[in-house]
């Protein structure tokens, strides 16, 4: 399944947030979106998943969703968005309950995704009992439960400390190697972008336009061992972004 954003523009009140952004997420591809704070990355992702209507342009899907996909476009949020009154398995169950799946089959799906994310021992725990990394694993398990075609991730690791972030990044790489999901991955962390992205789309400061696209051909699984090359790529992305980030920083302080 392919997601295409075609010439997306969006305004909030008088300010243009996105201006003519076009991009395509191909089957099995992770596309990273980076850009200075406030340039409209989250807005773009909300438009991509149908949570917001763009003022101009369109978000388009092509190709059939994979067999048995309950929710082809599935989000993983920065703040996890777990229901605090439901246990880990209850949170996963929530997204299956509206699909008329028999209870036994639902239980089987829940057990399967929890074991794939190493959460089986925590099935009965409440979110408040879990660390940040665990909570995001639950959110990943919940996303896997609906067999997504494309994952939409808005800074999924930003709320975590750097060690946990490394662990989860390894998990994501391992998961991708097994399942070859497609993803649109928004981050400000350039290291995450070069570790996960097949393509990195660099947005300019507000109004967000595509500044540049950096393609990375290196297979995901090899990237942990070729950090020196990634470092160079990361530097390249940063060189593209630096001026934009500086200007954006100044803009925000002007407003405040």
């Amino acid at each position: 399944m392919q997601l295409t954003l075609h010439d997306i523009s969006h305004r909030y009140g008088g300010t243009t947030v996105l201006d003519g952004v076009s991009l395509t997420v191909d089957d099995g591809e992770i596309v990273c979106i980076v850009g200075p704070s406030g340039c409209g990355k989250s807005t773009l992702l909300r438009i991509a998943g149908g949570l917001e209507k763009p003022d101009g342009g369109a978000a388009l899907l092509s190709g059939a969703a994979p067999e048995g996909s309950l929710n082809p476009l599935t989000y993983i949020f920065q703040d996890f968005a777990l229901l605090p009154w439901r246990t880990v398995e209850g949170n996963v169950s929530l997204v299956l309950e509206d699909h008329g799946i028999a209870a036994s089959e639902r239980a089987a799906i829940i057990a399967d995704v929890l074991s794939r994310t190493n959460l089986s021992d925590f099935a009965r725990a409440l979110p408040r009992q879990l660390s940040g990394g665990m909570k995001q694993r639950v959110a990943i398990a919940r996303a896997l439960a609906v067999k997504p075609a494309i994952l939409l991730m808005d800074e999924p690791l930003s709320a975590l400390d750097s060690q946990t972030r490394e662990l989860l990044m390894d998990d994501l790489v391992a998961l991708w190697s097994r399942e070859r999901f497609s993803a649109c991955y928004v981050t400000h962390n350039l290291n995450e972008a070069v570790r996960l992205g097949r393509r990195i789309i660099v947005l300019s400061r507000r109004p967000g336009r595509i500044r540049d696209v950096v393609e990375i051909d290196m297979p995901l699984a090899e990237r942990v061992d070729r950090l020196a090359e990634l470092e160079l790529l990361q530097r390249r992305v940063w060189d593209i972004m630096r001026e934009e980030a500086r200007e954006a920083d100044r803009e925000i302080s002007d407003v405040a």
């Binding site: 998943g49 949570l51 309950l70 929710n71 476009l73 599935t74 989000y75 949020f77 703040d79 968005a81 229901l83 605090p84 009154w85 439901r86 929530l94 997204v95 309950e97 509206d98 409440l126 408040r128 919940r142 609906v146």
Partner: protein, 278 residues
């Protein structure tokens, strides 16, 4: 040199070589659970009061001794009138409060969820909430009769408004991110309301219950003071009219106990429904 080394060795004993512990400035502003303080204070006040009455310091015309009030209560129990009064009061309270709360939650959810309901009903709620329902009692008597109807209606209206306000404020406070999450997974509207909005608003609804229950007791007594044969309010009114202060105190004590029991029940409910919070 050796002197310095010695000083460093004993660095962790205070009063030595000008070293002193960092002054402790934390602490305070935290409540410790103190177990049986409340009953001790309560019993002490009762004992002082009893002592004052026995010694003649407190005149029985001004305030009867607690033992006298207790005797009145025992009398009430022996004659079986206790259950008649309590039963009548509890019936009105339960009916009025339950209906008022259910209606209040329904309207509060509507106000929280639908713009039309908010625009149409919220000004009405804001206008009627501050009106003392006791002032409307004569109106209710005309509408619902002098019997149970007017009393239940008073309590119903009294609990309805605070419940509406607590519920819609609770709905407004539900984390928008959770609602967006539900939408992003394709949950139906009813599922989002039932599984995300109602549980999210539950803490506010339950704290609304605490307020509405107290209001209900106040209104119960007021309503029973007009044209009721039985009920704690009627009993207190009768005692007041006869200047039987011991009975009056006994009636007031019954009300306090009722309030305590209801607060305890709501606490239990909170523990059950909000166990996910802590």
């Amino acid at each position: 040199m050796s002197h310095e080394a010695a000083a460093r060795d004993t660095a962790n004993t205070p009063d030595d070589a000008g070293q002193r512990p960092v002054p402790f400035r934390g602490g305070g502003f935290v409540h410790r659970p103190l177990g049986p303080v409340a009953p001790v204070v309560f019993l002490a006040i009762l004992a002082l009061w009893e002592l004052g009455s026995r010694s003649g310091f407190i005149s029985p015309i001004a305030l009867p001794a607690p033992s006298a009030a207790f005797a009145a209560l025992a009398d009430l129990f022996k004659t079986g009138m206790l259950w008649k009064h309590l039963g009548a009061s509890l019936y009105r309270l339960a009916l009025g409060w339950t209906l008022g709360s259910l209606l209040g939650i329904a309207v509060g959810l509507a106000v929280g969820l639908f713009s039309l309901a908010r625009a149409g009903l919220l000004p009405l709620v804001s206008a009627l909430f501050p009106v003392p329902k006791i002032a409307l009692l004569p109106l209710f008597i005309i509408w619902f009769g002098i019997g149970e109807g007017s009393k239940v209606a008073t309590i119903l209206f009294g609990t309805f408004f605070p419940t509406v306000i607590a519920t819609y404020a609770g709905v407004d406070n539900v984390d928008r991110g959770l609602i967006r999450m539900g939408q992003s997974f394709g949950l139906g509207w009813l599922s989002i309301v039932r599984k995300i909005i109602v549980p999210g608003a539950m803490p506010a609804i339950l704290s609304g219950f605490r307020i509405s229950a107290s209001i209900a007791i106040v209104l119960l007594v007021a309503a029973e003071m007009i044209g009721a044969e039985f009920g704690i309010g009627a009993y207190i009114l009768m005692a007041g009219a006869l200047f039987a202060l011991d009975q009056l105190i006994a009636g007031v004590a019954l009300l306090s106990v009722l309030g305590l029991v209801i607060a305890w029940l709501i606490g239990k409910l909170e523990k059950r429904l909000l166990s996910w919070r802590m």
